[in-house]
Symmetry: C2
Subunit: 713 residues, 2 copies
């Protein structure tokens, strides 16, 4: 989008001299600041704002950028004309497309097609326009251009663009590029992300998004961008999954926000929840060096606010730096007796600018200090401007971040202006300075983040393909543990299991699996197996297996005469393991999303799970295990031995590969996966795999057999 | 403190004409606004700021209030003199008391004694002073008096008083009374709470506190106050329990902040974490009617901000009101076609004041709407002042709260001023309007809160007294399940248990308790009983008990030749119950604090517990059970039957009474309490009770016997 933002000539198609028309506003916006060539296009011709108008873009010929404000139904033909003229950059301000109705959606599709044919980059339709302050170009509704600055902003809401510009004007916050995304027919957040990343005037990338067009593309673009510049995103609009049928725990727990949460953290995006946070963090990130660690010093002229600041800092994961003996000695020498030379450093209510300067210099030199919160309250003798000058002078040359909180009102107006003018981050409330410092620290880690590739295991993809094909042919789309071969093909260990139909088969299978065993009746009509004697535990030998089988076949029909007994399921009895769940659901934006949690109440009641978008790499798989609140339970607690976390990680990675290889898998879950002590591995005990619908039976009525196998208690 | 705030004459002891002296500042502060009589006191006499000075307070005689600014060591004599003169209200500004050293603490104690003798109310020492805007009285350091308003504020930090006044001046926020509490030698937060509650000009009580002098008194005062007026408190300063020895789970988990958290919620205090929240919520609470419910309507001229507002509202526990058909019909008729008549009501970017007025009136009339968020963004045609006027007009007569968010900057300055002038709550960011609305709703519930008395059970207090006395005599201070009689005396059911020393005793006890039984070896030297065969489960009859006993006595000495076997412990084996913990620790501020949680990992790993300060009433006991995150597990989930919650509540109430009756109990815990299905009750299986130290053996070395009984595995 370099050419679009750096256009040397702009045509306004639909330019107008009539106040109230969009074509009037856009012309005014451009005329106010733009130094390039402005070409008004209007079929009536004549002069517009004193500039000769052309009847059509063809009549004029090539420009670097065309801004279109004419009614929607005329736009496809006009864009076509632009294409024929060789124009590559277009902004469509006009509304009346897919945001309105079916008819509008059709018009929008036409635009997309035309743009494809001519290789046109089109912003909008239905947007407020774009700005590049470094080209003095305001091709937008907003009459004033933003101040020059280091923040670039893309927004899916025009009103938020207007509000932020108005607010930024008051606070002297500057921008580099601004894009109102509108309907995102052609240009979307991924293009802007790339552009802002490449723009040398942009230091911080910010975005207000209500949705994302291309999830995987977004992850790729953001990973690249976030290593070069901080990326702050507000994602609003919680959508509920609504009536969509889900039949796994994973599906029940995963909301659409889980996917955004996971994706953002996987690609180094700093998610913010409100515009005030976005502005606070942006100004720190745009103008401060990054701290080398999370140890902060607080300099203050009053105790109370320093205590509050300390509380907030600890709560937000920062550390209160332990000052070295040298620092404390030096402070003791240079400060009055009653000053506090422990961190927070209290320079007392009567502190002069010189005393602040001495304290600031001294703590900045301390190797234990990674950043400074510079706290000032209005006391009767406080020389606020002088103290602000000290902050400015040091902030401009320090390699450690200094964030100010001039915590007052009327008497600090002068100091605030001084700081704003020099773009030194200053926050009314100390809390906001602390939270901004935390983001500086967070970004210092994100910046160096590596995104290694996911491992590729040597698996039997063909075997899985065959199982899935076969299921499709049969019209099944829910597979249970009878399809354990899928796991085996991907190298995931499974517990010995068999479904058998006769006594002979059963005894033979039992010998193969080994003892002790559990036997469960298989019958679609029986949901509470234990009530009818349909579960036999701890079968220790061939004889016990035989007795159990015969007992079931004889006695269950007496209790459930209408039940059709299909056979029995044998499974090796396990002991000493811990149950975990690994699952996957398809997210409409980001594709396959993995879930990890401990089994039973941890998932069902506590909802203590961790999501990640697949494919995951080893670090991410480890993060999934470490990311649940109850991970201590796997690491050995209360005398328990640590469990085999390496096996869990390995299986997560294999499942990641499986669901990535087979996008037709709609939901997937191993529940439970039994994890044994460290070094002893893990075994899948049950699984559930749902294929995407497409001529298959309805999701809500899974095949009887798989269903009955799961409903054991 | 009525007389202090409404003083008609004020003496300044230490009044001065020398700039830089405190006695100078205080004189200036008073002279600027105060209409009562000002009496400067200075041994040099003469005139101060044109007013004749007296050499001593005695020379002048009675005044309503004396403000003292002379050096600390002279103050006790001066306060004595004030007492003799009949002065009842004093503010000591001077520092140099317990905040400095031992010597200062002694001086402060002298002050306290003198005040007691004369019945003097003394604010400070070491404070900034007091203000009452409705008496035009500024008896403080701060040169400017606050604007008249409805908020009263007490603060333990003078700097925060200065900062808030400065901020409030800029934002046109008014106050009624302000107190800088200083060292709280005599007057503390409880006196101020009562005074603010009674002050007819105060609508909202706010406080910044770093500690509380008298916890139980604070709870009483706050319960009374919070039913009349909202009470907002910032409690800062996290203190760690440090090295204090604790030996129960309750003690390990309870931090000092748990007690504040519990106490505040038990007495209707709205806890806030920062000054910006305090200011935001105060202005809503001071000027808006309370909503009848949590269903809000959002009126907006832009979609994006409305979506964000909706997100925040839902996240904060508000509901987006479902507008009635009539409302939607009416809106449809009166608004343009493309407007959204579903909540959020989008009146579109070109909305005029009239259109806002129509939408506001219409939604206010809707019975499904409890309050309105009035959202405005700057669009090219927005008449911000006109739209603000609409809000003002309606807010002034509506019975439903209307909170504004004029979300912009430069172009909203005029509108902001209009709203501030009329004291209509307005927030830059919609998020803050929403959070303030939530506090209005919270307070609508707190206001009607009942605080019924705790029940008084018919218990055998004497029996417990005797057990405790006996333990003290023996020098024991840790009691285990050998002291189950304490529970029995308070009507708490316990599992059948006995400690026996011979085979004969053991068999007899077994017959009494009933089968099945568990037998455990009792020996202070054996910590892992099961390793040496010191635990026998499921003993079903007299014969099995005999065999088990003989086996232990014969074989354990072979494995642990140095262990002294004191006997065995028998306990009825329980099945089907759920383990919970009920505990208590003494909090230094609030006294006995109860804890409830589910047993095992829920407490140890998840720290999922709920605290309340004792004594608790029935509602609070129920809240403890309902207040843990995993309470579902008690209510019946995954096919489990609901557990007997009534029994838990009953036992919590009985323990509340026990620990209140015996303040010498330092820590207490029933762990586990086995809770059975609804109607089947609960049984204490083990307990641990620690008496306060005072000549007893050290907490870290509990008596061997009790210790060994607990360390079974």
């Amino acid at each position: 989008m370099h050419d679009m933002f750096n256009a040397k000539s702009v045509a306004v198609i639909g330019a107008s001299e009539t106040k109230g028309k969009i074509g009037y506003d856009i012309m005014k916006s451009l005329l106010n600041y733009y130094k390039g060539k402005i070409v008004p296009i209007n079929p009536k011709g004549g002069k517009i704002h004193g500039i000769p108008a052309y009847a059509s873009i063809k009549e004029h010929g090539l420009v670097d950028l065309a801004v279109i404000t004419i009614p929607a139904h005329l736009i496809p033909a006009t864009v076509e004309e632009c294409g024929e003229t060789g124009i590559k950059n277009i902004v469509v301000i006009s509304a009346g497309f897919k945001e309105i109705d079916e008819e509008g959606a059709k018009l929008e599709n036409q635009l997309v097609e035309i743009c494809k044919n001519y290789g046109i980059k089109l912003v909008g339709p239905n947007c407020l326009g774009i700005m590049n302050t470094y080209n003095d170009m305001n091709a937008s509704f907003s009459s004033d251009i933003a101040h020059k600055g280091k923040i670039s902003f893309m927004t899916q809401s025009g009103a938020i663009m207007a509000a932020i510009l108005d607010y930024a004007d008051k606070k002297n916050i500057g921008f580099s590029r601004i894009v109102s995304l509108g309907n995102k027919a052609v240009i979307n957040e991924n293009h802007c992300m790339k552009d802002f990343m490449e723009d040398e005037n942009t230091e911080v990338i910010t975005a207000y998004l209500e949705g994302i067009v291309d999830g995987p593309g977004f992850i790729r673009a953001s990973r690249r961008a976030s290593r070069k510049k901080p990326v702050l995103v507000i994602k609003s609009g919680r959508t509920s999954k609504g009536s969509e049928a889900v039949s796994s725990h994973t599906g029940t727990i995963a909301g659409s926000d889980s996917a955004y949460e996971a994706a953002f953290s996987q690609c180094g995006i700093i998610r913010v929840n409100s515009l005030d946070e976005m502005m606070d963090y942006s100004s720190a990130l745009a103008f401060s060096p990054l701290p080398k660690g999370n140890r902060i010093a607080i300099i203050t002229n009053a105790g109370g606010p320093a205590i509050m600041t300390t509380d907030v800092a600890i709560k937000n994961g920062l550390e209160i730096a332990q000052l070295t003996c040298e620092t404390r000695e030096k402070l003791k020498e240079g400060l009055p007796d009653t000053a506090s030379v422990k961190n927070p450093v209290d320079v007392l209510g009567d502190a002069s600018p010189e005393r602040y300067a001495f304290a600031l210099e001294t703590v900045l030199e301390d190797p234990n200090v990674d950043g400074v919160i510079y706290l000032v309250t209005p006391q009767s003798v406080t020389d606020a401007e002088g103290i602000a000058d000290v902050a400015i002078e040091h902030a401009e040359r320090s390699e450690k971040p200094i964030l100010c909180s001039f915590f007052g009102g009327t008497s600090f107006e002068g100091a605030e202006k001084l700081l704003a003018l020099k773009q030194i981050p200053n926050y009314l409330y100390p809390k906001r300075a602390v939270k901004s410092m935390k983001k500086l620290y967070d970004y210092s880690i994100i910046k160096d983040q590596e995104y290694p590739k996911s491992p590729e295991f040597d698996v039997d993809k063909v075997a899985v393909k065959n199982i899935i094909e076969e299921a499709k042919e049969k019209g099944m789309h829910t597979l249970g543990l009878e399809s354990f071969d899928i796991l085996k093909a991907y190298g995931i260990p499974t517990v010995g299991t068999a479904i058998t139909k006769t006594l002979e088969e059963t005894v033979k299978a039992a010998e193969e699996i080994g003892y002790p065993l559990v036997m469960k009746i298989v019958s679609p009509q029986i949901s509470h197996k234990s009530d009818v004697g349909g579960i036999k535990l701890n079968l220790k030998n061939r004889g016990e297996v035989k007795v159990a089988y015969e007992d079931m076949m004889e006695n269950i029909p007496k209790k459930e005469p209408n039940a059709h007994l299909e056979g029995v399921q044998l499974q090796k009895m396990l002991s000493g393991g811990k149950e975990v769940i690994i699952g996957m659901v398809q997210d409409p934006t980001f594709g396959p999303m993995l879930m990890f949690g401990l089994g039973g109440i941890y998932v069902e009641v506590l909802k203590d799970v961790k999501f990640q978008i697949a494919p995951v790499n080893e670090t991410e798989a480890k993060d999934m295990v470490a990311g649940i609140k109850t991970h201590e339970l796997l690491e050995g607690t209360r005398g328990d031995k640590p469990k085999d976390i390496d096996s869990i990680v390995d299986i997560i990675l294999r499942i990641s590969q499986l669901v990535t290889d087979f996008p037709e898998i709609n939901e997937f879950e191993i529940n439970p996966l039994m994890v044994f002590d460290e070094g002893d591995g893990a075994l899948a005990v049950d699984m559930r795999l749902m294929l995407k619908e497409g001529g298959f039976d309805n999701l809500l009525q899974p095949s009887g057999e798989a269903m009955s196998l799961r409903s054991s208690n």
